[in-house]
């Protein structure tokens, strides 16, 4: 009691006990996301160091299409926004809104992934494979790792929609939906760094 007073904490009638499970789960997932971002930072650093090591092969200026990147960016940003709409529907307990939000989040995420796969296939068809140069190894590692995260997120979203359908908005389902939306927003944050450093800076000479 005296310790709390000396630290300037008001000792009122309500002592704040341990945080609710919802807060603890989301906080733990937040720590996981930050560690994922630290892992991405190592791949970003590798890419930044190797981005000029083209070994006489194609460089970013030859390979990247700004139109594709602009559409991919719009898809992911809109998907992140609609994921926010889905979270709002979940907190209202609105099934219809959750399904509509989840479906539109999924479609835009899938469109992003399809564009990225098409871009990769086009590059491989031109002979710009990961083994061509250190630049391309780093490029496919970085962009592919983000794409793999998006693919995992899409699978997770399908599972969550099935769980909402079969179990409803139970507290544990709500917690998982909250973790999913954190994951999806974090992927968009990583994409902001990615399109700036890889594509815009790679094409700017």
């Amino acid at each position: 009691m005296t310790a709390a007073v000396t630290h300037g904490v008001p000792v009122g009638g309500h002592e704040s006990g341990p945080a609710s499970k919802r807060v603890i789960v989301a906080y733990g997932f937040w720590i996981f996301l930050l560690s994922d971002i630290v892992m991405f930072s190592a791949i970003f650093a590798t890419y930044a160091v190797l981005s000029r090591a083209t070994a006489g092969g194609p460089s970013g200026t030859d390979l990247f299409s700004q139109g594709t990147v602009a559409i991919e960016t719009s898809c992911l940003l809109a998907s992140s926004f609609l994921c926010g709409m889905m979270s709002m529907a979940v907190s209202r307990g609105d099934y219809r809104g959750t399904y509509i939000g989840g479906a539109s989040t999924f479609l835009l995420g899938a469109a992003f992934l399809a564009l990225e796969i098409r871009e990769f296939a086009g590059m491989v068809a031109q002979g710009a494979t990961p083994e061509r140069s250190a630049f391309l190894s780093a490029f496919f590692t970085l962009v592919g790792c983000h794409g793999a995260h998006v693919a995992v997120g899409l699978a997770w979203l399908i599972v969550m929609m099935a769980l909402v359908r079969s179990k409803g908005f139970r507290p544990n389902i709500r917690r998982r939906l909250a973790c999913f939306s954190l994951f999806w927003h974090a992927l968009d944050i990583i994409w902001v760094a990615l399109f700036t450093i890889v594509y815009l800076m790679g094409m700017h000479k």
Binding site: I31, L34, S41, L77, F81, R174, S181, H185, M201
Partner: protein, 115 residues
Amino acid sequence: MDRAPGDDTTVGEDEAHASDLRPYLIGLLLAVVLTATSFWAANTSVLWPPGVPIGLVVLAIAQMGVHLVFFLHITSGPDNTNNVLALAFGVLIVALIVIGSLWIMSNLSGISLLP
């Protein structure tokens, strides 16, 4: 009481409050403006070319901040201290890895280590 990352200000402990649309709309608007500015800056010939990458980095950091505040609802309030401290530690490690790698490797490329 601590607030979970991702919760906005209107979400109470009973989890039943409807949350507010406005932060998402403001975030979307700011993100669109910042992204469009980035694409414009990368293509325009109006700006001094060597300064453009620095501008792009600043715009990207600004947009990440917008996403954190308006989509992930990270605030500076006392109920968010744990979330902000974890984020600050993450940012420190990311900065050490990225700036440290670039610094060391650019220094090494100035010294020929291989015969």
